[in-house]
Subunit: 293 residues, 2 copies
Amino acid sequence: MPTVMDPATSVAAPTRFIETKLATYAFRRFGRSDGPPLVCLQHFTGTLDNWDPAVVDAIARGRDVILFESAGVGRSTGEVPMTVQGMAAHFLAFADALDLRWVDLLGFSLGEMVAQVAALERPSLIRKMLLVGTAPEGGEDIMHLEKPELRRVLEDPNIQGLQKLVGLFFTPSAASQRSGQAFVARLMERQDDREPVSGPAVAQAQMTAFRAWERGDGERFAKLRSIAHPCLVVNGVFDRMIPVRNSYFLAGHLPNATLLVYPDAAHGSLFQYHESFVQQATLFLDGGGVGNG
Amino acid sequence: MPTVMDPATSVAAPTRFIETKLATYAFRRFGRSDGPPLVCLQHFTGTLDNWDPAVVDAIARGRDVILFESAGVGRSTGEVPMTVQGMAAHFLAFADALDLRWVDLLGFSLGEMVAQVAALERPSLIRKMLLVGTAPEGGEDIMHLEKPELRRVLEDPNIQGLQKLVGLFFTPSAASQRSGQAFVARLMERQDDREPVSGPAVAQAQMTAFRAWERGDGERFAKLRSIAHPCLVVNGVFDRMIPVRNSYFLAGHLPNATLLVYPDAAHGSLFQYHESFVQQATLFLDGGGVGNG
C-alpha cells in the first residue's frame, strides 16, 4: 500500500478506515513521509480526538504521524478487549494492514501498556518507544478511579465533558490548571469529522484490562528485561492516575530507558509541557537526544 | 572586579587564586563572558582536575564557567569543613570575593549538597541549578563506602588512581566501562598546573559531612520546599554511591525540579552521557529546555 500523504496536521487530517480480519479501524495520518512513522496509542476512553494538536502536530513537522483507534473505540468496529494483550493484537493487525514494517511508538497511559506488549510480541516492528504516564505489568495503584482525589473530579456534577480531563490530567496549581484549559481548548480545534465519545462499555472493558495488568503474572518486571528498544519514559511527578513510581519501575528494569519527570504535573505532563515534550521527543527519536536513543 | 577572560577551555585555563577572610581559593575560569556564570561544585575528594573537559568545556562554548576549589582541597588553603553548611560558607565567600551576583550552579554529588545549602541561605545569588548524582538532607544510603560493591573497588590493589573512578562512577557493563576509560583519559588531558590529589584528611572530613547530611534535622525534606529555583536533577539509574531514589526524593519535594535519569549509568552519568548531558544542561540553562527552566 503506497503512502498517501494527508494534510499536515491532526486538526485537518480526514479520518480514514482500514479493514482487517479482526476489525475495521479508524485512523488519521499526517506529517512528512520520510523515516519511520510514529504511531500514537491512546489512553483510557480516549479517541482520535484526544490527541493534543500541540503535541502531535508539532511532532509531525518532522515525521509521519499515525493516530490509531483501537477496536470498539470511536468508529472502529469490534469489541474493546478486556486485556492489554487483546488490544495489542488489534494494534498489530492494524500495523500489518497498513504494511508498517518499522515504527516508533508514542504510547500514553493504557496506550503504552499496549505498546509494551507489542514490543514483546513483535520486537522487530518497533524502533523506539515513548512511554508516557504509564506502568509496567505488575505496577502499583494503576487507575483506581475510586480514590477520593479522582472521585472528587469524576463525580462532581459541575465538572462536565473535557473539563474532567482538566481535573484529572493536571495538578491543582494555578499554572497547571491554566495549561489544562489551554489543552482542552486545543482538543476542540478540530470541528468536523470527530469521533463519538466513549461510553461506559468502553470504560468497563478497559478498566478490566487495567486490573489484570496491575495483577501481572510471573516474576515481577521480568518481561521488561526483554524490551531492549531505546525508550523515553515520561511522567508528571504528581500523577494521581498512574503514580510516578511506576515510571521509576520502568526506568529501573527496562535496559535502555531514559526517564524524564516534569514538576507540578500530573497524568497529562506531555500536554502541560508540550513544547518541552515535543523537543525531547524529537531529540530522542532523531537519535541525538537523551540516553542511548 | 572586572571579568577577565581566561582561555576557552578547562584544559588550558590557568589556576587562579582569590583571597577571602575565610581562605584563599583556587579556581579556573573559562568560556564566554555573557550571561550568568555557571559555577561548578565538586564531588567527594575531587579537585579542579576532576571536571571532565567533555562536560565543562562543551558547556563553556556558550557560557562563562567557573570551577571552584573549596577550602582544604587542592591548593585552596584552610581546613575541609566537617559539615555541608561549612562548605557552603566557603562557596559564598568565594562568590562574594569574585563579585558574582547571579549564578547558575552545577553541583555534582557533595558539590550539589553545598549548592542546596547556598540556595537556602542566599536564594538571590542563584538563578538555576543542575543537581547531579546527589541527595537531599535526610536522604538514604549516601556514600557508604563500606558497602561490598564499593569496597570491592576501593580495596582492590590492582585498581589504582583514576581507575578507581572507573569502578565507582560507571556500571559493570562493557559500554559503561568503555565510557569510564574515555573519561579518565580526558581527565589527564591537562598536563601542567594540576592540583595535588586529595589525601585521607580530606576524605575523612567530607565523610563526616555526608553522615550529618544523611541524618538531617527537622521535618524530612521540608527545606526543599523553600528552594524555588528551576532545577534539573540528573542521575544514573544504577548509582551505587548515592542511589537514584535520592533523586526521586528531590524531584518529589523540590517545587520546580525536572528529573532526568540515564540508563545503564552509575554516579558518573554526566560523564558517561556527556553529549546528552551537555545538550540537556544547555537547553535547561538557556530556558528553552525541560520543565519550567
